[in-house]
């Protein structure tokens, strides 16, 4: 069964070497990661100018830092413009209302292109929606599979076959199905949002499903016997005994799932031209300016950092919820 190791292998290494946490170990747990990052940046700085592409040299850390600031500045500028746009409309509406109190007024949203920051939030929204959908499918289904070995035997081949499928294979199908079935004059969500979300769900529900089923199947038989002696009804048994007992395993699955969801999303957005970080990367690639590679590198780092933060948040929730932490 796949389990997540700590995302900080250096810390783990230190813990193995110094099981009783000494001052020395603590000092090293700070200095070694910093040293590692520094070495990486130096190597990057040295290697980058050696790599020549049709869009210029591979960006150095300095280039990337500069473009990160640039992207942030663009976002600020766009926001200012959007604010002014709305302000202008409000003023105009006020004028119209002053002339004619019965006039219908409305405010059009700012039509500018989404910035890097906007794309981050689009991606986050999509990934969370897809992950949420995957969770509410996978956890109950996993409990059913874990509780009933006939059901498990029937479901197993399907799970094994669909688990390794890449998002890129699902995407055309999902796109076509969503286009065909999600028809509405006034849609609550964009089609592109639904497509990305469903793709994320299809790819990320497996680890949660498998871990939940395993966790449920491995509940201490003594606890199951207690439940039998008490004659707990099925739902009480599932809610009060099975689910809590499986929570640590479920969370391990959820963390893997969220990691996969985030990876899948970027690929799906890139391929399907759905809004989000993946589209940002693709647009920059197509754009082909001298800054493009630096900007893509900013996106790469942002994607990595956000993935890390998402995992930390899940870990925090796990520590709150699970009884074994």
């Amino acid at each position: 069964m796949s389990t997540l190791t700590s995302t900080n292998p250096l810390l783990q290494l230190i813990r193995r070497r110094y099981p009783d946490v000494t001052g020395k170990a603590l000092l090293q747990s700070v200095t070694l990661p910093v040293l590692g990052i520094a070495l990486f940046l130096i190597a990057w700085q040295l290697v980058a100018p050696q790599i020549n592409t049709s869009l210029g040299d591979f960006p150095t850390p300095a280039n990337v830092y500069e473009q990160a600031g640039q992207l942030w500045q663009e976002h600020q500028n766009e926001q200012d413009r959007a604010d002014r746009y709305v302000e202008m409309q409000e003023k105009r509406n006020a004028r119209i209302l002053a002339d004619n109190p019965d006039a219908e007024t409305r405010i059009r949203p700012y039509p500018g292109a989404p910035t890097f920051i906007d794309q981050i939030f689009t991606s986050l929204k999509t990934v969370l929606a897809g992950f949420f959908l995957a969770t509410i499918i996978a956890v109950p289904l996993g409990i059913m599979i874990g509780l009933n070995r006939y059901f498990a035997a029937a479901a197993n081949p399907i799970i094994q076959i669909f688990k390794p499928v890449s998002p890129l294979a699902w995407l055309p199908l999902v796109t076509m199905v969503v286009s065909a079935t999600y028809v509405s004059d006034d849609p609550m969500f964009e089609k592109s949002f639904i497509t990305s979300m469903v793709t994320v769900t299809l790819c990320s529900l497996w680890p949660t499903l498998i871990n939940t089923a395993t966790g449920v199947a491995q509940v201490n038989p003594d606890l199951v016997n207690v439940s039998k002696v008490l004659r707990l009804p099925f739902w009480t048994h599932a809610r009060k005994v099975v689910l809590p007992a499986a929570v640590p395993m479920i969370f391990t699955g959820l963390r893997v799932s969220l990691g996969i969801a985030w990876m899948v999303l970027i690929a799906a957005e890139m391929l399907a031209q759905n809004p989000g970080l993946g589209k940002f990367v693709w647009d920059e690639f197509q754009n082909g300016s001298s800054d493009s590679l630096s900007r893509i590198m900013v996106a790469v780092l942002a994607i990595g950092f956000i993935g890390y933060v998402l995992d930390r948040i899940m870990l925090m929730i796990q520590r709150k919820v699970a009884w074994d932490e």
């Binding site: 201490n220 003594d222 606890l223 016997n225 207690v226 039998k228 002696v229 008490l230 004659r231 707990l232 009480t236 009060k240 005994v241 809590p244 007992a245 929570v247 009884w323 074994d324």
Partner: protein, 311 residues
């Protein structure tokens, strides 16, 4: 003798294994009175736990059956509460919540919330665990957790309390404490108890009757020994009591002869494997089943009780 409270009639059990059926129990007959404390003793693997699980309803006998108060036992139920060897408390619930899970399930229709709360606390006080009511099982010692396990079982107000080596995982001092506590509670409540044990002293000290089982496969009841010692019993004074020593010797002799000379004095002779059994009992404390091993000759000389008392 009036109608028995709990009766096992011709209970046989065989398990399907890849090597064909395995006969674990063969024609076990047992009658237990209300308020009686019965110990099942026998070597590891002799099927003691299987008997208990059949009474609990967690296993179905292949032949024969178990009748409690005139009703046949088919499924598990709270009137046959089980105390498991490793407490089997829900690790995510507090001590109080663990007992509450049982009390709410068993008395949700017959008790008000207020009464249930009092009843939970009463049972925790019975085992001296009310002070730890908000602790999780992981935060208390094994002995304390086992007390809670007993409180949970008692809180179901069972007709029969089934205990599967309840003190087997505890150190000797904690075990003695809990044995005394159990004796006291059992006397107060007049509960019917079936306890599985490896420990000869525990069996003699606690029981009204000791049921000694032959070695498996096809284990059955070898001998029964009624322990006619007055209650309350005190472990310190009993240690020198000739009757106590006599009972102890009788159990040891049964177990010892079983182990060394399989089939002797036994209605159903089997090919038992002494080495395997010696191994499986090895981790236990020296007071237990394998204690008499160093004196292999005493089996032949069936000394009268009085001469055996000298130590």
């Amino acid at each position: 003798m009036s109608k028995s409270h709990l009766e096992l009639t011709g209970v046989s059990m065989s398990f399907d294994t890849p090597q064909g059926p395995f006969q674990a129990l063969d024609t076990i007959n047992l009658k237990i009175r209300k308020g009686e404390f019965v110990s099942l003793i026998g070597h590891s693997g002799c099927g003691k736990s299987t008997v208990l699980n059949i009474v609990a309803g967690l296993l179905q006998a292949t032949k024969g059956g178990c009748v409690l108060d005139g009703h046949e036992v088919n499924t598990p139920g709270p009137e046959r509460a089980v105390v498991f060897q490793n407490h089997a408390l829900m690790p995510w619930l507090t001590v109080y919540e663990n007992v509450e899970l049982a009390v709410r399930q068993v008395f949700r229709k017959t008790m008000t919330k207020r009464e249930r709360t009092d009843w939970i606390l009463h049972n925790l006080e019975l085992v001296n665990m009310a002070h730890a009511r908000d602790k999780r099982p992981g935060e208390i010692s094994g002995g304390m957790a086992q007390r809670v396990g007993i409180a949970r079982a008692l809180s179901m107000r069972p007709s029969v309390l089934l205990m599967d080596e309840p003190f087997g995982a505890l150190d000797a001092l904690t075990r003695a404490h809990l044995q005394d506590a159990l004796m006291e509670i059992q006397q107060d409540l007049n509960s019917t108890v079936i306890m599985i044990t490896h420990d000869v002293d525990e069996a003699v000290l606690l029981s009204d009757r000791i049921v000694m089982m032959t070695n498996g496969p096809a284990a059955t009841v070898g001998e029964e020994l009624t322990i006619d010692l007055p209650r309350p019993r005190n472990r310190v004074t009993l240690a020198d009591d000739p009757e106590y020593v006599h009972y102890r010797q009788a159990v040891l002799r049964f177990l010892y002869e079983k182990q060394r000379f399989p089939g002797k004095g036994d209605k159903a002779p089997q090919a038992s494997t002494p080495t395997e059994e010696a191994d499986s009992t090895a981790p236990e404390s020296p007071v237990e089943v394998k204690a008499p091993e160093p004196q292999p000759t005493s089996a032949k000389t069936k000394k009268p009780v009085a001469t055996a008392v000298q130590n």
